[in-house]
């Protein structure tokens, strides 16, 4: 069974699903990580392990939707824990991110870069690099947000300047 969430699904449905507990009410303190995968990478810092942590779970059956849509403990008291920000943004804004990557500019892309902690002076390079690798990052309309994140990482790792944001 293909367990990846298609881009179409992510494009529309996750807008509502991603924040099942976004209301500032009722919830108790939740110190768990963001998906089971996080635990595998516990103790490692940087964006890459955080993203790979998801990927570890990317194909583990029925949990995929929960992880991809970011509902597994990504939020605490209604806000997203900072390390999860990149993924939450990607999952929720996958269609807008694809638009911006294709154009090489835009606020979803700028926000993505900021959440990835890419410094201002390197952002034009990031935008151009992602744009020229569009077909690698978005190879099919069934691509999942997690797959997109992994491809972006790989593309960045191949670039001398951008690699440091991955290895951090």
């Amino acid at each position: 069974m293909k367990s990846l969430v298609s881009i179409a699904l992510v494009m529309g449905l996750t807008a509502g699903a991603a924040y099942a507990d976004n209301h500032v009410q009722g919830e108790t303190a939740d110190s768990s990580g963001c998906g089971v995968g996080t635990i595998l990478w516990k103790g490692q810092s940087g964006v890459a392990p955080q993203i790979l942590a998801v990927t570890t779970n990317g194909t583990s059956g029925n949990q995929t939707f929960g992880i991809t849509s970011g509902t597994l403990g990504c939020t605490k008291d209604g806000v997203v824990s900072p390390p999860a920000e990149v993924r939450m943004l990607t999952v929720s804004q996958l269609d807008n991110l694809a638009k911006d990557v294709a154009r090489g500019e835009g606020e979803t892309l700028a926000s993505f870069a900021t959440a990835m902690k890419v410094e201002q002076q390197d952002q034009p390079l990031l935008f151009a690099t992602l744009k020229s690798n569009f077909t690698r990052i978005f190879p099919a309309d069934s691509v999942s947000a997690d797959e997109v994140l992994v491809s972006i990482q790989q593309v960045m790792a191949e670039d001398e300047t951008l690699a440091r944001y991955i290895e951090a």
Binding site: I7, L9, A15, E85, S92
Partner: protein
């Protein structure tokens, strides 16, 4: 938590000292305390009541109605020993804004009242990371009356943010939890406070997606000049409001009103919640906030998907529009010669517009997700292969922002002639906007009237007569273009005067319920031509001549020549099915001229025959908005 009986704290001398100090300073009567507890004066009598309805918000059993008892119970609760249970917050943390205010005003002695660590609150507020605040106004969107008044949110912005990374901010929304109720139940419960209203916080990109991409509402952002400390007070107060609720009233304690308490907590001297006129319409509260001395910093416009499409089309030639449509519908491929031959910047523009339209169609449910995703990916892949940027001009906001439009209530006096008889006219309408009102700041072609009436006094007549009364009237004339094809429609319920053969010259007062639907198109930038098919049920005095079902076509032209001057022409012919009724027609011309933001001159002329022969009418009026 709950109330701490005074007896239990009897041994606590320091608590008594603090209470004495608070009483001496009359802290419970201060605007800051009233803002923190959402207290409002009672309608009758000298007392107060809080607008929050959940008991957990109060520490005193009678806290909802007694500011002083609540203050004393709050002080008492701050002395509670820490709980062993990590899930339970200490009152100093659960009510962190009250704690900070009382600590500052009463100068708590750390040695006699130990400060508790508030790890959950600290982690939460560090994630929000707010240093400035922005009032967010998603404007009305076409074809949905519920949205026509707009909505307000409050966004918390981060330090070192640029306009292109605001998506990462958090925003707070106050809304009713309405569930899945149907239209009528929704309306009844909404008007009577049957839904709980709660505050929620979520990333701004989620809200932009909902309002801008899915609901197609343009968003106006108003950056406010609150200090970092004032913004911190708002965040602290928001923490206190987690899990609390109020009965939600559409026309009173609604989304925009309850948000004002956050601003009042930040700066109690604003007293926005005390401004009664703000209770009803979101844009009025936006105006009130911006009018406060030194509060407004900067406005930013965020176009909806629909606006991006409509404005993009204006920048293209007819051939370009056709290509964009064919690409969006899958009738043309990016590799086709017609596309490939375009200059790169234009090709980029056409591909981007086509893709925006595909996602727009998916959001509106016109095409399936699988189909949309496949098409969008094809278009984006082709777009990514073009170096150049789109050659379409950037999208501009409206010349007049919503806050700069005329105010919501209207009163007018006028003089006119009907069939040679002169009359004076008095018009009043508490809300909101009709086709002839100055269009600046309002959605083009959208009109909504509530409880509007006109009284007329004819020369030589006895007493003023009710000429028309509109309970509710809604009109949405949305232009169709090469890509977007909305339906235009209108509804009206009220009373009108019908001049039928056999009635006296004042005519018969009849109740009429009317509706119609059709299409609208435009030739230039702003003109809206509409054709609709209308149906009306009418009946009242002189029933055999007035009770009927009326059916027929209507044509109109609405031309906002500028933000302050509008021309309107409207004509209709109706077949009437009733006992002794005759078919009728009506032609009306109107011209408005804005003299100031809140003053407009109107000239109207009409020709109609409702069964007693053709009659002419002229009316000049001066309308004041307030």
């Amino acid at each position: 938590m709950g109330q701490k009986p005074a007896a239990e704290a009897a041994g606590n001398v320091y608590l008594e000292t603090l209470i004495d100090k608070a009483v001496a300073a009359d802290l419970a009567a201060e605007p800051a305390w009233h803002a923190l507890l959402h207290y409002r004066p009672d309608w009758l009598g000298p007392g107060y009541h809080s607008l929050i309805d959940s008991p957990g918000f109060f520490l005193a059993a009678n806290g909802k109605t007694d500011p002083r008892a609540e203050l004393e119970a709050t002080l008492s609760a701050f002395f509670q020993p820490p709980s062993n249970d990590e899930q339970t917050q200490h009152p100093q943390c659960a009510f962190v804004a009250r704690y900070r205010w009382l600590k500052e005003r009463l100068r708590f002695d750390r040695d006699r009242l130990s400060p508790m660590p508030c790890a959950r609150f600290v982690a939460w507020s560090e994630t929000i990371d707010a240093t400035s605040a922005t009032l967010i106004f998603p404007a009305a969107y076409m074809n949905n009356p519920a949205s026509m008044f707009g909505h307000t949110l409050l966004r918390f912005d981060r330090p070192d943010q640029s306009e292109s990374t605001r998506l990462l901010s958090y925003a707070v929304n106050y809304g009713a939890e309405t569930g899945e109720d149907n239209g009528l139940l929704f309306a009844v419960l909404g008007l009577t406070g049957g839904y709980p209203g709660t505050y929620s916080v979520e990333p701004y990109y989620q809200l932009v997606k909902r309002y801008s991409d899915i609901e197609n509402r343009d968003i106006h952002e108003y950056q406010l000049a609150f200090t970092e400390g004032e913004v911190a007070r708002m965040v602290e107060h928001l923490w206190e409001l987690r899990g609390q609720w109020s009965e939600y009233y559409f026309f009173d304690e609604n989304c925009s009103y309850q948000l004002l308490f956050l601003l009042d907590v930040a700066r109690p001297s604003l007293d926005l919640a005390g401004d009664f006129a703000l209770h009803v319409i979101p844009v009025d509260s936006v105006r009130a906030v911006l009018e406060r001395e030194g509060l407004f910093e900067k406005a930013v416009f965020r176009p909806s998907g629909q606006t991006r499409i409509s404005q993009g089309l204006i920048g293209l030639s007819a051939a370009g529009r056709r290509l964009a449509r064919d690409l969006a519908e899958g009738a043309a491929m990016p590799e086709d010669e017609t596309i490939a031959d375009l200059p790169p910047a234009r090709r980029a523009a056409v591909l981007e517009l086509a893709e925006t339209f595909v996602t727009h169609q998916m959001e509106t449910g016109d095409i399936g997700r699988d189909e949309a995703a496949a098409r969008a990916l094809k278009l984006l892949t082709a777009r990514s292969r073009i170096e150049a940027a789109s050659d379409l001009p950037p999208i501009e906001g409206p010349k007049t922002r919503p806050d700069q439009g005329h105010e919501s209530a209207r009163a007018g006096i006028g003089f006119g002639l009907r069939d040679g008889r002169s009359f004076s006219s008095l018009r009043f309408r508490p809300a909101y906007h009709d086709a002839l009102d100055p269009s600046g700041g309002y959605a083009p072609g959208a009109a909504i009237d509530f409880l509007a009436f006109e009284l007329r006094h004819y020369k030589g007549g006895d007493a003023p007569l009710l000429e028309t009364f509109t309970g509710v009237g809604i009109r949405s004339m949305a232009r169709q273009n090469a890509l977007i094809r909305p339906i235009s429609w209108h509804l009206n319920a009220g009373l009108e005067r019908m001049r039928v053969k056999g009635t006296d010259e004042e005519g018969a007062l009849v109740a009429a319920f009317e509706g119609g639907a059709g299409i609208s198109a435009g030739l230039g930038r702003d003109d809206i031509w509409s054709a609709t098919l209308d149906a009306e049920l009418s009946g009242g005095e002189d029933c055999d001549r007035t009770c009927s079902l009326n059916l027929g076509p209507a044509l109109s032209l609405l031309w906002p020549m500028s933000d302050s001057a509008t021309f309107l022409a409207h004509g209709r012919y109706q077949l009437r099915f009733g006992e002794r009724t005759r078919d009728r027609y009506q032609l009306r011309l109107g011209q408005s001229l804005g003299l100031a933001q809140n003053l407009a001159l109107k000239l109207e002329a009409g020709l109609e025959d409702e069964g007693s022969g053709a009659e002419q009418e002229f009316l000049t009026s001066l309308d004041w908005y307030f």
